[in-house]
């Protein structure tokens, strides 16, 4: 029986990993500029070969340079960004659901999305530079969660997590109002549409340069969460019980909030507001592997990566114009989730 369970977990893990790889390659093949799959693979191999300090094989370039640009400069960074953002939102959402003992929690519960949205709007009002917009989105995401945390420390109660959620709602409402203010004062021809489209989310402007530090942040945060993932189970028992089981709850809460916030802020600052992924992917993970966070976190990462990548493929290829990512995640995700709910085993009470 125990062996069966392990085999099942391993089976789920391997299938999901294969799925991620599959979606990755399919995404590389897809796009308006048609390139043969064989050529795509050769271009990739050649790039890997060039990156190595010694040359393994000699791959003569038989394709035009523009294909190099399309694959390595446009599709690859965007694909990596989609996977990182999807995985990051899913892993932080899953961690927050455990921490707050509530399966309806999303990564933005502490106000990071509202803060980042305002930061981006401010960036658009103040400058034309994408870097400034990203930077302000990231910084304001962090600022808003810091504000939430400080606010929650003002109230002296024993139910810390509840007060955190309440503080998150307060800070979120404040920054949402500031976003509206930014829209109100924005120039309606240029800035206002920019703000609106940013808030809908998109990966169209991702470049290799942004990717490096976003990837570093998301991967580092995810590693921390993965390392402590068994302990999230104990936090999910409730604060008093976790304490009585020897867990330093204040430290653990801090570590989870900081990791998840940095991950989400990094994801939001390149992708805009992409909802639904952080809320629903952990549920699908729970349906597959049960309530144990030791399994939920890695499974969420893989599902999140595959899901957002697939959605982003649709966003960039379905019509000649880009469809905002935040719209599609819900339009596709909501019916899929509703369908999955039919199979009852939701994994929470």
């Amino acid at each position: 029986m125990k062996l069966n369970e392990r085999a099942r977990g391993l089976g789920v893990g391997i299938s999901l990993f294969a799925l991620v790889i599959l979606v990755f390659f399919v995404s590389l093949f897809m796009g308006r500029y048609a390139i043969e799959p064989a050529t795509v693979i050769t271009i990739l191999l050649s790039a890997v070969n060039d990156a190595l300090p010694f040359s393994l094989v000699d791959i003569p370039q038989t394709w035009p340079d523009v294909m190099n640009t399309v694959i390595l400069r446009i599709r690859l960074p965007r694909i990596c960004a989609a996977m990182l953002v999807g995985a990051g939102l899913a892993v932080s959402g899953a961690s927050f659901q455990g921490l707050f003992r509530n399966p309806l929690v999303s990564p933005s519960i502490l106000g990071v999305a509202a803060g980042a949205g305002f930061g981006a709007a401010l960036g658009i009002l103040l400058s034309d530079s994408t870097v400034a917009v990203q930077f302000l989105a990231f910084v304001f995401g962090i600022i808003s969660v810091t504000a939430t945390y400080m606010l929650s420390r003002v109230y002296k109660t024993t139910t810390t997590t509840l007060v955190l959620v309440l503080s998150g709602i307060i800070v979120g409402a404040f920054f949402t109002a500031l976003i509206s203010l930014a829209k109100y004062v924005a120039d309606p021809d240029e800035e206002l549409p920019a703000i609106v489209f940013w808030l809908m989310g998109s990966l169209a402007d991702v470049s290799t340069g942004d990717l490096f530090w976003v990837a570093t942040t998301i991967i580092a945060g995810s590693i921390v969460l993965l390392l402590i993932r068994w302990r999230i189970n104990i936090l999910a028992m409730g604060e008093d019980e976790a304490k009585s089981l020897g867990v330093n709850t204040r430290m653990m809460t801090g570590v989870i909030i900081v990791s998840a916030t940095f991950i989400t802020a990094a994801a939001v600052c390149i992708a805009g507001l992409v909802g639904w992924v952080g809320l629903v992917v952990p549920h699908i993970a729970r349906m597959l592997v049960g309530p144990d966070y030791k399994k939920i976190l890695p499974v969420s990462i893989m599902i999140g990566a595959a899901y957002l990548l697939a959605v982003d493929d649709i966003a960039r290829t379905l019509t000649t114009a880009e469809i905002p990512l935040g719209i599609l995640t819900a339009i596709i995700g909501a019916p899929v989730f509703a369908y999955l709910l039919r199979f009852r085993k939701v994994g929470w009470e």
């Binding site: 509530n102 302990r231 189970n233 019980e241 009585s244 729970r286 144990d292 030791k294 929470w348 009470e349």
Partner: protein
């Protein structure tokens, strides 16, 4: 002495005392039951004993160390806490749930290994819920959940187990079963502190009794010395009969209330 409490007092706001002048000691194989009416601060006292809340003054020594100076993990290796109830959010299977009792013995970045699983399994066997091991905690009864919580506490391999009203919310039969289990654990060397609403239970298993009223202990000692009509009248404000029943072979304690005829 494993646990030594002297002159303990607690208050939320520094003005209204929840309890004060509390002193008690407990050692290996001992079982102490705290009785008292609703709202006398039994649960708060228990939370302080587990180190969940700091005392206003006084001291709690755990094997000679002040509890407030120990880390959470150090406390949890020595004291296990069985809460009054548990709100189930995520439906872990019973065996995974009990396994969480190993948490204080596992380093921050690890998860339980084979040995921890073995210890959790043993705890499940000791408590007698082997047949529930695979069931999700959301699908078992309140009485079974109480046993699961005790098994989890047992998996901590503690020296002291502190149980908050372990017999409340249980049916007639399960109350006695849980008491027998507590007796067995005390016999195996674990020091037990529990709170209860049933004075009669203290005649079923051997235990010392402390009666709490208006924030302090009004009587402490062996059950037959402390559970007297006078003490219970003072604690609960009702008349109580304590009498020996031949067929049962022990003292029993019942309210001296009759059916009121019109």
């Amino acid at each position: 002495m494993i646990l030594e409490v002297s002159d303990a007092a607690f208050s939320y706001d520094g003005e209204r005392m929840i309890f004060e002048d509390i002193s008690l000691t407990i050692g290996k194989n001992e079982c102490l039951c705290i009785l008292g009416p609703n709202g006398t601060g039994k649960s708060t006292l228990i939370k302080c004993l587990v180190g969940l809340m700091p005392l206003l003054h006084g001291s709690i020594l755990l094997n000679g160390h002040e509890i407030g100076e120990l880390s959470r993990a150090d406390i949890a290796k020595q004291i296990a806490y069985v809460p009054q109830g548990h709100q189930v959010v995520f439906p872990f299977p019973v065996q995974e749930y009990v396994l969480m009792g190993r948490s204080p013995h596992i380093s921050l970045f690890s998860s339980p290994g084979e040995e921890d699983r073995k210890i959790a399994e043993d705890a499940i066997d000791t408590v007698g819920i082997t047949h529930l091991a695979k069931r999700p905690v959301s699908e078992i009864s309140g009485g079974e959940l109480q046993l699961v919580l005790i098994a989890r506490a047992l998996a901590q391999q503690p020296e002291v187990m502190i149980l908050d009203e372990p017999t409340s919310h249980l049916d007639f039969g399960n109350q006695v079963r849980v008491l027998r289990l507590i007796e067995k654990l005390a016999h195996e060397g674990i020091a037990i502190i529990m709170s209860s609403h049933f004075p009669d239970h203290s005649f079923i298993i051997p235990q010392r009794v402390a009666i709490m009223k208006d924030c302090r202990f009004i009587a402490v000692g062996d059950a037959d010395m402390v559970i007297t009509p006078a003490n219970l009248q003072r604690a609960y404000g009702i008349d109580v009969t304590v009498t020996h029943v031949e067929e049962v072979g022990r003292l029993i304690c019942v309210p001296s209330a009759c059916r009121q005829e019109k």
